[in-house]
Each structure stands twice: as structure tokens, then as C-alpha cells.
Subunit: 267 residues, 2 copies
């Protein structure tokens, strides 16, 4: 698996979240027609020595309409061309079934060459399997998130035992192609991370919530690492908006390096 090789080579399990909200870009880019792409390009160049994955969240691109969508496609193409060792995640949290799910898979795996898409599990296997049908592509399924209202459903106790997010993981691990399923697990619940690691010892976890949301690399590594690393720790705002001046890319590179250096200690 190329991702594991990249992790070993770069001594990092850092995923940079490209939540490139146009309202938060440095002022000197504001006039540019493709400001989001220009911003992403500079961020990617500055952070690529330390990042093993990039994760654009589709919401920030869709909010700009077709022009935003074009810049999302351009961003993915730029990474795949210049940093082919990096793993690209469309953070789309899609969740539809059958031929509709197939169209989403086409959008992210064929039109764009993303390596993975984040998916919502509510409708079950019908919404995951169409993505697993692509060889060498990955489905990253929401399991336990770090937002306050996660407890409304995700941690509901089931009559048959366990909590809902555990059922999500168990079900996913029973699917054909489950070796290409990863799970989203929030960094702000490190004690849960240990339990989830027991439930899915082989799986990769995409862990948001480090930095701005309060999780730490230390805790995530302590509870989440497996023999292949098994972690993609994401930071978005803490890296890409580290500075809003003309030194934004340099500042992003610096923040990425700091996180990657912490990670190296565990690899």
C-alpha cells in the first residue's frame, strides 16, 4: 500500500485539510479569479515535505458553484501530478445508494483521481459498496466524530450491546473489500480511540480534531497507532490559516513541520 510507504518515507502521518474558505484567504489573493486554487497550490508546495495526505472538504468549493468545483478538480490534479506519493481524500461525506452512489464514485474517482472519499454510514452497505468496487480506492466511513451532537446517535446504546458507532465499524468490516475501508474517529476522544483500535486493529483511522479542536498528536498516537501506523491525523485551519499575510505558505509549512516532527517520534 503506497500510503504506508509514504508514511515511512516522510516519517509523518499528517493529513492537511484544504478547507479553503475564500473569505479567509490572504488579502493579496482576493482579486484572483482562481484564488482558491492559487492558495491551495502554495499551501501544497510548502507542506508536501511533511504531509502524506491532503483532504479538500467539498463544501468550501461547492459554495462557490461551478468555479469552485473547477478549482477543486484543479487542486486534486495538481497534487496527483506533482506529489503522486500523496493520498488525496475528498472530504465529501456523501451517502446515497445504488446508481446514485455510483455517480458520486465516478465524480471523485474517475473525473478526479482522488484516492478516497469520506462517506456517511446511515443507509448501510448500499451506500459504501459502490466505492469499494473501485480497486485501489478507499472509502472512509464516519464512525465516531468529535462534535457535541455526536451523542445523539453515534453513541446510542443498542439493544444487542455496544454503541451505534461500534455497529458501524462491525458492519463495515464484514463487507467485501473491507480492507479498503478507513474510519473517521475524532481526536478529542482519545480513550475511545483505544477501544476502536481493538475493534478494527488493521484499519486506518482518519483523525480530525488535532489543533483548533483540542486533540493532541501525543494522545492520538498513544491510543491509535498500529503496526502499519494506521493513522491519518488531519489539521486544517491550524496549518492553512496559520498566517493570513503574504507569508501564509511559509507559515503553513512551519506548522506542518512541527506536527510532522511530533509524529516522527512515534514511527
Amino acid at each position: 500500500m503506497q500510503l504506508i510507504e509514504t508514511i515511512r518515507k516522510k516519517k509523518s502521518f499528517l493529513c492537511v485539510g484544504l478547507d479553503s474558505d475564500p473569505k479567509l484567504l490572504p488579502a493579496h489573493l482576493a482579486g484572483e479569479k482562481d484564488a482558491i486554487f492559487q492558495f491551495n497550490k502554495a499551501i501544497i508546495d510548502a507542506t508536501a515535505p511533511y504531509a502524506i495526505a491532503y483532504k479538500p472538504n467539498t463544501a468550501f468549493y461547492e459554495a462557490e458553484g461551478a468555479a469552485g468545483w473547477e478549482q477543486l478538480e484543479a487542486t486534486v490534479a495538481y497534487i496527483k501530478k506533482n506529489y503522486p506519493e500523496c493520498f488525496v481524500i475528498a472530504d465529501a461525506k456523501r451517502g446515497d445508494i445504488g446508481n446514485t452512489a455510483q455517480r458520486y464514485a465516478k465524480a471523485f474517482f474517475e473525473r478526479m483521481d482522488c484516492d478516497a472519499v469520506t462517506l456517511a454510514p446511515y443507509m448501510g452497505k448500499d451506500s459504501i459498496a459502490p466505492f469499494l468496487a473501485y480497486e485501489n480506492k478507499y472509502a472512509i466511513v464516519l464512525a465516531l466524530t468529535s462534535n457535541p451532537s455526536a451523542e445523539e446517535l453515534e453513541t446510542q446504546a443498542l439493544a444487542n450491546g455496544g454503541q451505534l458507532y461500534e455497529q458501524v465499524i462491525r458492519q463495515c468490516l464484514s463487507y467485501e473489500g473491507s480492507e479498503r475501508i478507513m474510519f473517521v474517529v475524532g481526536a478529542t476522544r482519545p480513550e475511545k480511540l483505544a477501544d476502536i483500535r481493538q475493534l478494527a486493529p488493521e484499519s486506518f483511522f482518519l483523525v480530525p480534531g488535532v489543533g483548533a479542536q483540542g486533540g493532541t498528536v501525543e494522545e492520538v498516537a498513544k491510543y491509535g497507532l498500529n503496526k502499519d501506523c494506521g493513522l491519518l491525523v488531519n489539521s486544517s485551519r491550524g496549518i492553512i490559516f496559520a498566517s493570513k499575510g503574504e507569508d501564509f505558505a511559509e507559515a503553513a509549512g512551519r506548522e506542518a513541520r512541527i506536527l510532522a516532527e511530533k509524529m516522527a517520534a512515534y514511527l
Copy 2:
């Protein structure tokens, strides 16, 4: 509520699903640059006397990249301009939180003037509330869907009683602005529809699964109607692909009329 007025005026609760897969369009449109939009326009004009809502599923547009996104925006604009009485649903099944959810809301409620977006409930209120923050806009939350793997999670029995989809509905009804939440309930489970109507007597239900998937207007009406109608029954392929010849729009109008006439008997 304008939707209720439109239902009474047109004597219909038909929603036409614009699942406009370019591969399935009539051959004579295939060469057109904006074939999807041209197709939708003809379908909308032919079905507008019978339809009270339109529901483009975003997957079919995203799969065509920026050009597809433009045609989605053009389709929504066309409906709002020419048939302002119709309710437009972005069937996007989005599910993200906080500022990300806000960007999705911007995409569908500000850039486009959709009246509603379908949403996944897994992450709880944090993924619904940003949409309810828009006055006069609606969130349509997945509750009980009709796909085979719905039983993996949706119908799981909870330790506190009831099934997961019931917990989704209960939670949603507790949110501020819950009078603007609708629920997706599959037509292929009519007996469940009666239970769900008891749980959410005032809410509108978006009911897919009539036609191609085997549900009937009769059963849905019998178990799902409330005093304000409370139903949006969707048909997609059965209407828009009723003919793949040059008479596709006429055929779509005919199928829509047949469904609307069945519905009129219940209003």
C-alpha cells in the same frame, strides 16, 4: 406555507426526481453541450401542471464536473423563475458540521435558491441546525429508507427502546425550527409509514420508491396523509425516462398526470 397551497391548487403531491443521468438521455439530445439542462427544461415544462416539487439529485450533476454543476444551477433557476409555486429540493444527502455545513447551506440556499436540502442525520443536530438557520428553508432528514441495507443501522433496536430511525425523528423534532424539518420515508414500507405518522403527525414526509421501486400511491396515501397532506411522493425514472425517444417530454407529462390523478382522489 406555500407548498400546502400548491398541493391544494394542483391537487397533487407529486415530486419529480430529476435524476438526469446523461447516459440515459434521448439520443437526439446527446450532442448538445447543455444536454442535461435541455432535458430538464423539457421535462419540467411538461410535468409542471402535475408536479408540486422537483428534486434534482446532485450526484448526476457532480459526475459531470463543473459543467454538470452549472446545469444543476441553471435547472434550479429555471424552475424558480418559471414555476415559482414549485418546491425545489436539492437531493444532496449532505452531512457535515459547523462552518462546513454552513457552506453547504450557502451552496444550496444562497447560490441556488433551493427550498430544501436532504441531509444525513448521523452526526446529529450540528449537521442539521445550520440549514434551519435560514428562514423559509427546509431540512429533509433521512429517517427510514427503502434500500435493503437500511436494516444495518436504521432499524437497529436501541437499548432505551425504539429503533434508530425513531430516535432520529424524535431528536429532530426537539430542534429549534423543527417545524421546517421533513423526513425521508421509503414507500416500500407502508406499514412503517403509519407508525412514523404517529411519531411526527405534523411533519411532511418525502417518499421515494413509488414506481420503479414498487411502492404505490394508494398505500402511501392511506398510511401517510395528514391534515395538510404532509406528503411529497417522488417518482424519478418512471417519469423522466418514460420514453427515450423524441416524445420523452410528452411521455413524462403523461406519467406525471397519471400519478397526480391518483393523488387527487386523496385530497
